[in-house]
C-alpha cells in the first residue's frame, strides 16, 4: 500500500439528510474519509450511526426525493454525487461494487446464480452470453465454491448462507472493481463461515489490489481485517486511526466506552461497562456533541459546540472529535488487556 | 379528545355520517311527515314539494316518509348481519385454526358455501321461508360467513406461530385465555374492517333482494323495494329512485369510511405515527 498514491475514493463532508414529519433526520452529517488502493478501511458503529447510509450514499443508492445529499464523493476526480444516473450505472458493479448483509434477500431468487453474475459481466464488459457465463463460472471458482460449473446453474435458495455470501462476492468482483464496499458481510453468518469469508476477502484483496470499505459493528472483525478505522456515532465521524493505534489508545469517549462494554475485551472483569442512556433520536440532533448526554467527561462546551476532528497522534494520523480528549484518555480504561492466545 | 379526533378524519367523517343515518332512522316516527303506507291515489307521481319533500310514488305514498322508515330496515339488516356473521365466523374460524381435525371439515363446508354466489344463495333461502326481517337477516348472513371464517382462520394460523403466543404458553396461560388475551385482540383490526364490508354488502344485498321482490314483505318500506317500484317510472318520476338511492349510497359509504377509520385508529402503532 503506497502512502503517496492518490486516494482512490475521497468522501468529503458527505451529508445525507432526510426531511420527515418529525424534522430533518441527519443520517450522515459531514463525514469525510479517504480510501487508498490495496487498503481496508473499517467503518465501525452501532445501529443507527449512519454507516450503511454512508455506503449507500457513495453509490447513490439512496433515493433522492426523500434524501438530500451534501458534500462530495470523489472517485477518480469526478464527484459521484453530481454524475448523471447513466454515468453512475457505469460505475456501480463495475468500478465500485457493494456486498450486503443479507445474502438471501440481495440475490434474485428466480435467477440462477450463474446468470446473475453473467448479467453483470455482460452489462459492463460488453461480451457475449457464453463468454459471460464462462467468466461467471471462473468467478465462482475464485471464491472457492466447489463444483462451480454445477453451482452456476443453481438458485440462491439451494445454497447455504455462506455460499450465498460467496456468490455475492463473486458477483461484486466479476468486473474487477477498484473499490469494494462490504456492508456487514458476515453479521448474518455463523462464526466459522465468517472466518472463511473474512479470509477470502483478504486474499482477494491482495490478489486484485482493490480498496475495501468494511462496514461492521464487530470490533473483532475490524481488528482482523482492517488497516485503518473510522468510528461513527449519530451520523458523524468521531475518531479515525490506524487499527493498531485505535486498539492501543482509543481516544474518543465513545470508542473507549464501546470497547469497555465488549465482553471479548473484558474477559476478566465481572461487570461490563455500560453506556448509560440511548443513542439520540436522529431528528433530535442539534448543536453540540451528539454523545455529550451519555459521556462521563462532558463539559458545558460539549453541549454548546460541535467538536471538530483534530489530529492527536505524534506521528501519522489519529483524528478525534472531542473537547475532552485529554481528560478522557487519562482515565484508566475499563477494557482489560486481551489475553494472549493460548 | 379533540386532538385525537383531528388525527383520524376518516373515522370521524364515517362515524358522523353513519350516526346521522342512524339518528334519522331512529327518529323516523317523528321525522316522517306522512304515514309511509298511506296510499293517496290523488297525489300520485308528484315531484318534490313543500308537502312531500321527496315527492310521491306510483301509489301516492310520500317518498320522504318511506325513505326515512326504509332506512331502519337497511341499518338493522346491515348491523345484524355484520354482528352475526362476525361472531359466527370467529367461532368457526378459531375452531378451524386451532383444532386440527375440525379444520378440514369446516373449510370444505365453507368452500361449498362460497361456491354459490351470495345473492343467489340468499334468494334460494328466502324462497323456502316466509318473508320477514328475521329471515332476510339469516338469509344474508349465511353467505357472508365463509369470508369471515377464512379471514379468522388464516389469522389464527399465523398468530398461533407468533412468538408472543408461544411466550403466553410458556408463562402458563391456558388456551381460552390465550385466545381471548392474545389471539383475538390481534385479529381485531382486520376483523372490524371485514365486518364493515359485510355490513355494507348486507345493506346492498338486502336492497337487491327487495328490488327483486324476495326481500322484506312488500308493504314494509325498504330502499330496495322503493327502487324496484320506481324502476318502472324512471322517465316520469326519477325522484322515486333517486332519493332512496342516495341514502343507500351514503349509508354504505359511511360504513366503509368508519371501517377504514377504526382500523387505523385501533392499531397502536399506526395511531402513534398519525
Amino acid at each position: 500500500m503506497d502512502k503517496n498514491a492518490p486516494a482512490l475514493l475521497e468522501v468529503d463532508q458527505l451529508r445525507t439528510h432526510f426531511d420527515t414529519l418529525n424534522g430533518t433526520v441527519r443520517s450522515v452529517d459531514g463525514v469525510s474519509f479517504t480510501l487508498q488502493a490495496g487498503e481496508t478501511l473499517g467503518v465501525v458503529g452501532e445501529s443507527g450511526c449512519g454507516k450503511s447510509v454512508t455506503a449507500l450514499s457513495v453509490l447513490r443508492l439512496v433515493p433522492t426525493p426523500p434524501a438530500r445529499h451534501g458534500g462530495e464523493v470523489r472517485y477518480r476526480g469526478s464527484n459521484l454525487l453530481a454524475l448523471s444516473e447513466k454515468a453512475m450505472r457505469q460505475i456501480r458493479g463495475n468500478r465500485i461494487s457493494m456486498i450486503f448483509q443479507e445474502p438471501m434477500t440481495s440475490l434474485n431468487p428466480v435467477m440462477t446464480v450463474g446468470r446473475q453474475i453473467a448479467e453483470s459481466v455482460q452489462l459492463h464488459q460488453k461480451v457475449g452470453r457464453k463468454a459471460a457465463m464462462a467468466h461467471a463460472v471462473e468467478m465462482l471458482r475464485l471464491v472457492q465454491i466447489p463444483e462451480p460449473e454445477r453451482r452456476a446453474g443453481e438458485y440462491p435458495h439451494q445454497l447455504s448462507g455462506g455460499m450465498r455470501q460467496r456468490v455475492m462476492i463473486a458477483l461484486a468482483l466479476a468486473c474487477k472493481p477498484e473499490v469494494l464496499i462490504a456492508d456487514e458481510p458476515t453479521t448474518a453468518l455463523d462464526v466459522t463461515i465468517q472466518a472463511q469469508i473474512i479470509d477470502l476477502l483478504k486474499r482477494l484483496q491482495r490478489e486484485m489490489g482493490m480498496g475495501v470499505i468494511m462496514i461492521t459493528h464487530d470490533l473483532g472483525v475490524v481488528a482482523e481485517s482492517c488497516d485503518r478505522v473510522v468510528v461513527m456515532y449519530a451520523g458523524r465521524k468521531v475518531e479515525e486511526a490506524t487499527v493498531g493505534a485505535l486498539f492501543e489508545r482509543p481516544l474518543h469517549p465513545y470508542t473507549r466506552a464501546l470497547m469497555a462494554s465488549m465482553p471479548a475485551l473484558n474477559t476478566r472483569s465481572r461487570r461490563l461497562a455500560e453506556i448509560p442512556g440511548l443513542v439520540p433520536a436522529p431528528h433530535e440532533l442539534g448543536q453540540g456533541c451528539a454523545f455529550a448526554q451519555r459521556c462521563e467527561h462532558a463539559m458545558p462546551r460539549c453541549r454548546a459546540e460541535t467538536p471538530v476532528l483534530d489530529n492527536h497522534a505524534q506521528q501519522g494520523v489519529h483524528l478525534v472529535a472531542c473537547f475532552a480528549v485529554d481528560r478522557a484518555s487519562h482515565t484508566p480504561s475499563l477494557a482489560a488487556q486481551p489475553e494472549a492466545a493460548p | 379528545m379533540p386532538r385525537w379526533l383531528r388525527k383520524h378524519p376518516t373515522l370521524v367523517v364515517g362515524g358522523v355520517l353513519l350516526l346521522v343515518m342512524v339518528l334519522i332512522s331512529l327518529a323516523a316516527p317523528w321525522l316522517a311527515t306522512h304515514d309511509p303506507q298511506d296510499i293517496d291515489p290523488l297525489a300520485r307521481m308528484k315531484p318534490p314539494s313543500a308537502e312531500h319533500f321527496f315527492g310521491t310514488d306510483a301509489m301516492g305514498r310520500d317518498v320522504f316518509s318511506r325513505a326515512v322508515w326504509g332506512g331502519r330496515v337497511s341499518l338493522i339488516v346491515g348491523l345484524s348481519v355484520a354482528l352475526l356473521a362476525t361472531v359466527g365466523g370467529v367461532v368457526l374460524g378459531l375452531v378451524a385454526g386451532f383444532v386440527r381435525w375440525a379444520d378440514n371439515i369446516i373449510m370444505r363446508l365453507m368452500d361449498g358455501l362460497m361456491a354459490i354466489p351470495g345473492i343467489l344463495l340468499a334468494i334460494a333461502l328466502m324462497a323456502v321461508t316466509r318473508a320477514s326481517l328475521t329471515t332476510v337477516i339469516v338469509a344474508i348472513t349465511i353467505p357472508e360467513i365463509p369470508r369471515v371464517v377464512r379471514l379468522v382462520r388464516s389469522m389464527a394460523l399465523s398468530l398461533r406461530e407468533q412468538l408472543f403466543v408461544e411466550a403466553a404458553h410458556a408463562v402458563g396461560t391456558r388456551l381460552p385465555a390465550v385466545l381471548s388475551r392474545h389471539v383475538l385482540p390481534n385479529m381485531l383490526a382486520p376483523l372490524i374492517v371485514q365486518a364493515t364490508f359485510v355490513a355494507a354488502s348486507a345493506v346492498l344485498i338486502e336492497a337487491s333482494l327487495s328490488f327483486l321482490g324476495v326481500g322484506v314483505p312488500a308493504q314494509t318500506p325498504s330502499w330496495g323495494n322503493m327502487m324496484a317500484e320506481g324502476r318502472n317510472f324512471v322517465a316520469v318520476g326519477f325522484h322515486i329512485i333517486l332519493y332512496p338511492g342516495i341514502l343507500l349510497a351514503i349509508t354504505v359509504l359511511s360504513i366503509n369510511l368508519l371501517g377504514d377509520g377504526l382500523r387505523d385508529a385501533l392499531d397502536p402503532r399506526l395511531a402513534r405515527q398519525l
Binding site: 473474512i198 479470509d199 486481551p338 | -
Partner: protein, 334 residues
C-alpha cells in the same frame, strides 16, 4: 451414557436431561418415498445445578434452540427424559406441565416478537402472575412495579405499549416477565443476539445481577462466544444435534479438547490487531440435519478423522481434569 458425578458430590442437580431427542418427520406426499426425519436433537444429556449458568453453543442447525425449547416442552421431545427438581417432565399432561412452568421460564431472542403488541407492558409482565397467583389487582400492580424496578425500567413504563420501547428495554420486559414467578430455571434463547453491543452489556450485567440476587439457574443458548465466556459457569458445545464437549468455562476456553470446539474457538475474531489469528479453517458447509453423517457426525470435516469415526459414534465420556467439575468429550482420539 451416565456422566460421572464429581468427587465432592453436590446436591441433586436442578435439571437432569437424558437422551433428549427430537426428530421432525417430514410430511409424506402420497406415492413418494418417505423422506428421512430431520434429526434436530439426537440424544442430548447433561445436568444443570442450582444457580448455575450452562451455555449451549454451536452454529446454526446444531440443535441448541430445539434442545432448550424441548426441555420446556414448547416443542414436544420425540423421546428422552427431562427431570426438573426430581420431577419428570416428559409425558406429563398439559395441565400438569403447566403447573411446572412456574419454575421453568424462558427469555426469547426477538425482544419485539415475544411481546403482544396489544398489551401494555404492565399487562405483559403481570400475565404469569395472573395465571398462577390469586392476587388482588393492587397486589399485582405492586409486584409489577417491583419487577420493573428490578430490571431497571421506570414505573410509568407499565402503561406503555411494546412499540414505544427500544430493543434493550423490550428485552428487559421479557426478563421481568420471566422473573415474575421467581422460577428456579430460566432458559435464555439468545437473549442478546438482536441487541447492539452497548445494550448487550446492560442486559448481560442485568442477567448476572439477577442471578446473584435470586439464585436461579440459566440455560443460556448463544452463538456469541464472547458473551458466553462472560456469563457461563459451564459450557456445552453442540454439533448437528449432539453435544460434543461439555466442561466448565475456563477449561473449555483455555484448553478445548474436541476438534470442533477448537475450530469454533479459533474462528472467533480477536479484537487485537497485534495478534495474528491462529485460525483453523473449517472446510465446506455443515451437513444437513436431515442427512447426518454416519458414526461421528463431525467426521466429514474433522482434521483428525479416521476410518473408525465413520462407523462408530463416540460417546460423551469424561477426561481427566484438575478442577472439581467434569470435562466430557465425544471423540475417539482426544
Amino acid at each position: 451414557m451416565t456422566p460421572q458425578t464429581p468427587v465432592a458430590a453436590p446436591p441433586t442437580p436442578l435439571l437432569q436431561v437424558r437422551d433428549l431427542t427430537k426428530h421432525y418427520r417430514a410430511p409424506r406426499r402420497w406415492l413418494s418415498k418417505p423422506r428421512p426425519p430431520v434429526q434436530a436433537v439426537d440424544g442430548v444429556s447433561f445436568d444443570l445445578a442450582q444457580g448455575e449458568t450452562l451455555s449451549l453453543v454451536g452454529e446454526s442447525g446444531c440443535g441448541k434452540t430445539t434442545t432448550a425449547k424441548s426441555i420446556m416442552r414448547l416443542i414436544e421431545p420425540s423421546s428422552g427424559s427431562v427431570v426438573l427438581d426430581g420431577q419428570e417432565l416428559v409425558g406429563l399432561s398439559p395441565e400438569a406441565m403447566r403447573l411446572h412452568r412456574r419454575d421453568l421460564q424462558i427469555i426469547f431472542q426477538d425482544p419485539y416478537a415475544s411481546l403482544n403488541p396489544r398489551l401494555t407492558a404492565g399487562a405483559i409482565v403481570a400475565e404469569p402472575l395472573r395465571n398462577f397467583q390469586s392476587l388482588s389487582e393492587a397486589e399485582r400492580q405492586e409486584r409489577v412495579q417491583w419487577l420493573f424496578a428490578k430490571v431497571g425500567l421506570r414505573p410509568e413504563a407499565a402503561k406503555k405499549y411494546p412499540h414505544e420501547f427500544s430493543g434493550g428495554q423490550r428485552q428487559r420486559l421479557g426478563i421481568a416477565r420471566a422473573l415474575a414467578l421467581q422460577p428456579k430455571l430460566i432458559v435464555c434463547d439468545e437473549p442478546v443476539s438482536a441487541l447492539d453491543v452497548s445494550v448487550q452489556a446492560q442486559v448481560v450485567n442485568l442477567l448476572m445481577d439477577l442471578q446473584e440476587e435470586f439464585g436461579m439457574a440459566y440455560l443460556f443458548v448463544a452463538h456469541d462466544l464472547a458473551v458466553v465466556r462472560h456469563i457461563s459457569h459451564r459450557v456445552a458445545v453442540m454439533y448437528l444435534g449432539r453435544i460434543v464437549e461439555i466442561a466448565d468455562r475456563d477449561t473449555l476456553f483455555d484448553a478445548p479438547l474436541h476438534p470442533y470446539s477448537e475450530i469454533l474457538l479459533s474462528a472467533v475474531p480477536t479484537p487485537d490487531p497485534k495478534v495474528t489469528p491462529k485460525r483453523i479453517l473449517l472446510q465446506g458447509d455443515p451437513p444437513s440435519p436431515a442427512n447426518p453423517p454416519s458414526g461421528c457426525r463431525f467426521h466429514t470435516r474433522c482434521p483428525l478423522a479416521q476410518p473408525l469415526c465413520k462407523t462408530q459414534a463416540p460417546a460423551l465420556t469424561p477426561r481427566a481434569t484438575t478442577k472439581g467439575s467434569e470435562h466430557l468429550v465425544a471423540c475417539h482420539f482426544k
